[in-house]
Amino acid sequence: MFFSLAAVEVGTHLYWNIAGLTVHGQVLLVTWLVIAIILSIAVLGTRNLETVPKGLQNFVESVFEYVSGIAKDQIGEYEYRPWVPFVGTLFLFIFVANWLGALVPWKLITLPEGELAAPTNDINTTVALSLLTSISYFYAGLKAKGLGFFGRYISPTPIFLPINILEDFTKPLSLSFRLFGNILADEIVVSVLCLLVPLFIPLPVMVLGIFASSVQALVFSTLSAAYIGESIE
């Protein structure tokens, strides 16, 4: 009497075996697409550079200005420039990845198992990005201060030592969970709503998801720049 019109399943992935390691194939596929989009916009926008920009060069320049504004606000005027590529890559990758996951009709492409979605809905992607941030703020601190960088563990007083050590673990944890939780939660809510009422009702949640995911890209890159700035000063 009843037949299944739609189903929601969480946790099935497309597994690839590359050189003995198992990876999530669907995450890699969308990641490559994100990289291709960002690189093609960057390459197309910077050929035939003109002093008075117009068209795609104008757009690319405004993106660059926005991203270097993020780095400058957090790191400070004198040392922000070497970090603009890193902060900009984080912002652009997360932003384009989240928007691709939310806007492109992925269901049109059927995979043998699992389905295509935003690459940031996999905890592995977000943990990788936040570990990159962790490594980079360690590198920034060590480069700016040498071994004196480890003096920050006992500032302001040596009683803070366990708290400061814990902070080194909670920083990447909170970064990764914030992004992962936001994206996965939005996807689950949208898929459950589509399961229940497929017409019109999921739309406000999808719009909220687009807005929240772009804010999450900004928050991730701002926090990364803030950690780098905090370890330089």
Partner: protein
Amino acid sequence: MNPIISGASVVAAGLAIGLAAIGPGIGQGTAAAQAVEGLARQPEAEGKIRGTLLLSLAFMESLTIYGLVVALCLLFANPFTGG
């Protein structure tokens, strides 16, 4: 033991997300109230106030998201049972 663990996981998931929404809800309401007051006091600073408000809201939101991640983990990736 399986039904007990499953039942407990479901209750825990509900409690996790429910309780996790209380604190950040209050905090975000307070932040928004102060932002509106600042905006009423000085309407020219709208850009900065809005930017700071959105950033702060995202930070507070992340605390609820931690609870959501625990709930999702209990429901779909439960280490003690199949779920």
